[in-house]
């Protein structure tokens, strides 16, 4: 069936009336939306506004992929979810909400992580991909898979007060292909240089702004209305309220689709992003071992390297020495017996241990695997997860 033959029920016509009456949009654009299949990767901060607006706008088929469950700390920005969804898979909660918003949409859900193994099989079913993920390995995975499969990739990313939007691998009406993420950033930052998860943070309304712009670009890519951000790179600085739009171009040395492409298939993106780089291993302790050691009196000190406000939310009685201050406080750390170091999930405490071992030669520090979150899950559910 050609797009011009796509029909709408009277309920749909009434629902989309404010689109259809726009002279430059009209029924034709609404038909393209209904015919379109969009995959939204990640249903978090960016995915929330993206999914709400794409569903409301009438995109016919929407795929949602996310492996995560709704957490209390998501609700500050992930406006798709409510208190009643905490603990439930995000894709499940999202579809329930979105079906209530628009019953005319077909949803496909993937309650799993997008990986190099499943990406091509999933993405090939869609016309457009909207990347709302929160990490570099998945960014490069989505980019490479969309280039290999010849699909446009509507990109948005946020961090703290900064947002970025572009449209990658878009072929315009003249047949010219726009740049992709690897033209812009050939390689990701090494781990540790950019603040990670709990340390970074994001202002709650920022993904609302940036994810809405991303939804706008998805709609423009589908309908052909207006000029997309292909070949342009938009940045938003919420602190100074400054927008900038830069020109970007495809580069000859792009390893995916430059003059001498070296990537013909998906690679190991964790390794590519340096997350598997050999680093000196540190001693670790599981939650159950930790509990045993404590009962046997072998633990002489517990160090909590999180920030004071996190300590206030939940703590296991450790000595609070935030990561930034561990070197300055090294004399407060005991050298006899086992000292357990923990943070929220285990990343910052690993950094703290490396720093203390390298600078001050500690050899009795153990990283608590999974951090306080695992402790809460396995030992003390009365404590507040965040």
């Amino acid at each position: 069936m050609s797009i011009s033959e796509i029909k709408f029920s009277t309920e749909e016509l009434a629902r989309y009336d404010r689109h259809i009456i726009i002279p430059d949009f009209g029924l034709a654009a609404q038909q393209k939306l209904k015919a379109a299949k969009v995959l939204v990767v990640g249903s978090g901060g960016l995915g929330s506004p993206l999914l709400l607006y794409l569903t409301a706008a009438g995109v016919g088929t929407i795929g949602i992929i996310d492996f995560d469950v709704v957490d209390d700390s998501n609700l500050q920005r992930q406006v798709l979810f409510g208190v009643e969804n905490v603990g439930k898979p995000k894709v499940e909660a999202a579809v329930n909400r979105l079906k209530g918003l628009n019953p005319h949409i077909r949803f496909e859900v993937y309650n799993t992580r997008l990986t190099a193994q499943n990406a091509l099989g999933i993405i090939k079913e869609y016309d457009v991909v909207a990347d709302g993920t929160d990490n570099f390995p998945t960014r490069y995975l989505v980019n490479d898979a969309t280039v290999l499969l010849d699909k446009p990739n509507v990109y948005a990313s946020i961090f703290q007060f900064e947002g970025q939007v572009s449209v990658f691998n878009y072929v315009n009406e003249k047949g010219e292909r726009g740049p992709n993420y690897r033209d812009l950033y050939p390689t990701p930052p090494p781990p540790g240089l950019v603040p990670s998860c709990a340390e970074g943070g994001v202002l709650g309304v920022l993904p609302g702004i940036i994810g809405s712009l991303q939804a706008l670009e998805v709609i423009k890519v589908i309908t052909g209305v207006g000029e997309t951000l292909s070949g342009r790179f938009y940045t938003f600085d919420a602190l100074t309220f400054t927008n900038r739009t830069f020109r970007i171009a495809a580069r000859k040395d792009n390893p995916l689709n430059g003059e001498n492409p070296s990537i013909q298939q998906l690679v190991d993106y964790e390794a590519f992003c340096g997350l598997k780089a050999p680093v000196k291993s540190i001693k670790e302790v599981s939650i159950s071992e930790f509990v045993e050691w404590k009962e046997r009196g072998e633990v002489v000190q517990v160090i909590d390297v999180r920030e004071p406000h996190e300590y206030e939310i939940a703590n296991i009685g450790g000595d609070l020495i935030p990561l930034g201050g561990v070197s300055a406080a090294h004399e407060q750390i005991r050298r006899d017996g086992k000292v357990i170091v923990h943070c929220k999930m285990g990343g910052r405490s690993a950094k703290a241990i490396r720093e203390l071992e390298e600078k001050y030669g500690f050899d009795n520090l153990y990283n608590l695997k999974g951090g306080i979150l695992s402790y809460i899950d396995d030992v003390d559910q009365e404590l507040v997860r965040y």
Binding site: F159, P186, I248
Partner: protein, 92 residues
């Protein structure tokens, strides 16, 4: 002389300044001046060979310096240089 716009994640290294005025005839000279004035910025912008890191883009006005003369591109007092690092959301 040029104005350099510092991205929000790197402002902690510039005493929270969002823009910095710096001397220099080329992009390279301005960046050099920038990391001299704010040494903590250096490892975020330049690699061991003093080249701009591959996860950092530098734009002069609206243009990627890689589409101009790269860091040899000349600047004047009206030039605005934007530094845009890759960001990926919350997690690594």
């Amino acid at each position: 002389m040029a104005t350099v716009i510092i991205p929000t994640p790197l402002r902690k290294f510039t005493n929270a300044q969002s823009t910095v005025q710096l001397k220099g005839e080329t992009v390279a000279a301005v960046i050099k001046q920038l990391v001299t004035e704010f040494p903590d910025l250096k490892k975020h912008l330049l690699d061991e060979q003093e080249a701009i890191r591959s996860f950092v883009n530098v734009f002069l006005g609206e243009d990627d310096i890689r589409d101009l003369d790269n860091t040899a591109t000349g600047v004047n007092e009206k030039s605005v240089i934007s530094i845009i690092p890759a960001i990926a959301g919350g997690r690594m």
